[in-house]
């Protein structure tokens, strides 16, 4: 499957690059499949890829209402990390990290995974103690974590104001060196190509508008391109979860849709070569390979299905950026955009069989699901193929709320806008 190699690049260059195949076909949907996956985002595509690769299930369609990658997979700020506190999260996200570390090779597609580290800044001794606790929890489970002093941090990020006169002095930080960033579009394209080459049909501009049923069993979907039957129907629609589940007659979910904005500045010379997060508010930033500073903060804070944000959060994010990096005051912002996130009631995802017969559900990614893309697809494919969860996603059930088994890494309770 090594379509891209030094040899193929050279051979195609000599032939004027006219013989490359499209990365995925544009098939018309068939009348039926073994598995239909609703949602051609990173998670849906990864699920299709691992269904084919790990379980030999290739009679699969991924149905995407827009174009491939038009959802959050192409809108996120690309931070990848596994620095969680609670064991269920740490194990799951570390499984993802291990898949990331081999992903370009596995897909034969350069997803530009860059382990430039992720540093959480602490601004009070109590916060530093809290990071020490989290770092210890991570190391207990074999994940790398390091505490850093202000002097070490200053060497890593010279532009950071660590002086005592800073608005929020830096007292230390927690660093995960294996964390970093990846090229988000390439992740979608790489999984799409990998799934396509194994026989999966990726059907774009095909919106699911309803579910077909036989009694209480889901037997397929109705779409803007006709009815399609399937033995198994998997839902991986991120911010649209509420809407799509309503089509199946499920009126309430432990989910609220909220908009998250992101920003990018004009290109700068190398300025910062890690991902940094601010501990006194919610702000994080990294530098893209093109030179733009990519950053974001909180969700807008009220239910929204609009793929755009409002000004108060723009204002807040900019002031947090300047509290950390006063030197960026005159850098121009190039673009901002928004994506719709499915905020769950405990801040953790749901990957499960059900809730209806013949249905499988993957949702609740909040604003941190990009890093989960490989493990989400891997675990979801396992769950669909075997009709039971893998141990990595067994805790992420839909009924955990009602059973009192929430996985609340931030300790914010059932307040999705605070996760």
């Amino acid at each position: 499957m090594a379509e891209y190699s030094a040899f193929s690049l050279l051979a195609n260059a000599l032939k004027g690059n006219k013989d490359w195949k499209p990365a995925w076909r544009k098939p018309d949907p068939k009348a039926s499949y073994d598995v239909i996956i609703i949602g051609g985002g990173g998670h849906g595509l990864a699920t299709a890829y691992y269904l084919a690769k790990e379980h030999g299930i290739t009679n699969v369609a991924v149905l995407e209402k827009g174009w491939l990658g038009s959802g959050n997979v192409g809108r996120n700020t690309t931070a990848v990390r596994s620095n969680y506190l609670l064991p269920a999260n740490t194990r799951f996200y570390e499984h993802s990290m291990k898949l990331w570390e081999d992903l370009s090779h596995d897909l034969n597609y350069n997803v530009m995974f860059s382990q430039r580290g992720c540093l959480n800044l602490a601004h009070t001794p109590a916060q530093f103690d809290d990071y020490a606790r989290r770092g210890n929890a991570m190391r207990h489970l074999g994940v790398d974590a390091e505490l850093m002093t202000p002097a070490q941090i200053k060497r890593l990020i010279p532009a950071l104001d660590i002086s005592d006169s800073a608005r929020f002095p830096v007292v230390g930080g927690l660093m995960q060196r294996r964390a970093g960033t990846a090229r988000h579009d390439a992740v979608a394209w790489g999984y799409a190509r990998g799934a396509d080459r194994r026989g999966v049909d990726i059907v774009e501009n095909c919106e699911v508008t309803g579910f077909l049923r036989d009694g209480d069993r889901i037997t397929g979907v109705s779409t803007s391109r006709g009815e399609i039957r399937a033995k198994k129907v998997a839902v991986a629609v991120a911010g649209s979860t509420g809407r799509v589940m309503q089509l199946a007659g499920i009126e309430t979910m432990p989910i609220e849709s909220h908009v998250l904005q992101a920003f990018v500045t004009e290109s700068l010379k190398p300025f910062i070569d890690t991902v940094v997060t601010f501990g006194m508010g919610h702000f994080y930033m990294s530098q893209s390979d093109k030179g733009g500073l990519v950053y974001g903060g909180d969700i807008d804070g009220y239910n929204s299905y609009a793929q755009r944000g409002n000004l108060p959060v723009v204002d807040e994010v900019m002031s947090e950026m300047l509290a950390l990096f006063p030197g960026l005051a005159r850098v121009r912002m190039l673009r901002s955009w928004g994506g719709v996130c499915d905020m769950s009631m405990d801040g953790s995802p749901i990957i499960t069989t059900g809730p209806l017969h013949g249905m499988y559900l993957n949702c609740g990614w909040c604003y941190g699901g990009f890093k989960a893309t490989p493990a989400s697809g891997w675990c979801f494919a396992w769950t669909i193929a075997k009709d039971q969860p893998h141990e990595f996603n067994a805790p992420f059930t839909l009924d955990r709320f009602h059973r009192g088994l929430v996985i609340d890494d931030k300790g914010q309770g059932a307040n999705p806008r605070l996760h």
Binding site: G242, M253, P254, S257, N303, N310, P312, H402, P416
Partner: protein, 98 residues
């Protein structure tokens, strides 16, 4: 986004704090019905369209408001006091008029 507080008039959204879904009904505190409590704490309607929600005018008169807002367009079609017109704000307004 502007929210027209019935007491203060149209104000920028930054003066308000979102208190979430206004459809939820808190069960009677004495209720032993776990399903009702679970639904109250965790289950949400989350519609794409008109949404019945609670906002507090925290940077203004501090009244709690019931707002109907479209979650796709952000258009607001109605704002009212959560507790009818019996808030202190409404009372003050009524008194200042009489």
């Amino acid at each position: 986004m502007l929210i027209t507080c019935p007491y203060c008039g149209p104000r920028d959204v930054i003066e308000f704090t979102y208190q979430g879904d206004g459809n939820r009904e808190r069960p009677n505190p004495a209720s032993q019905n776990l399903d009702a409590w679970n639904a109250y704490v965790y289950d949400r309607l989350n519609p794409a369209g008109d949404h019945n929600e609670i906002w507090q005018h925290s940077g203004g008169c501090r009244a709690h408001l019931r707002v109907v807002r479209n979650t796709v367009t952000h258009e607001i079609s109605s704002v009212a006091f959560v507790h009818g017109d019996h808030t202190s704000a409404a009372r003050r307004k009524a008194e200042s008029k009489s």
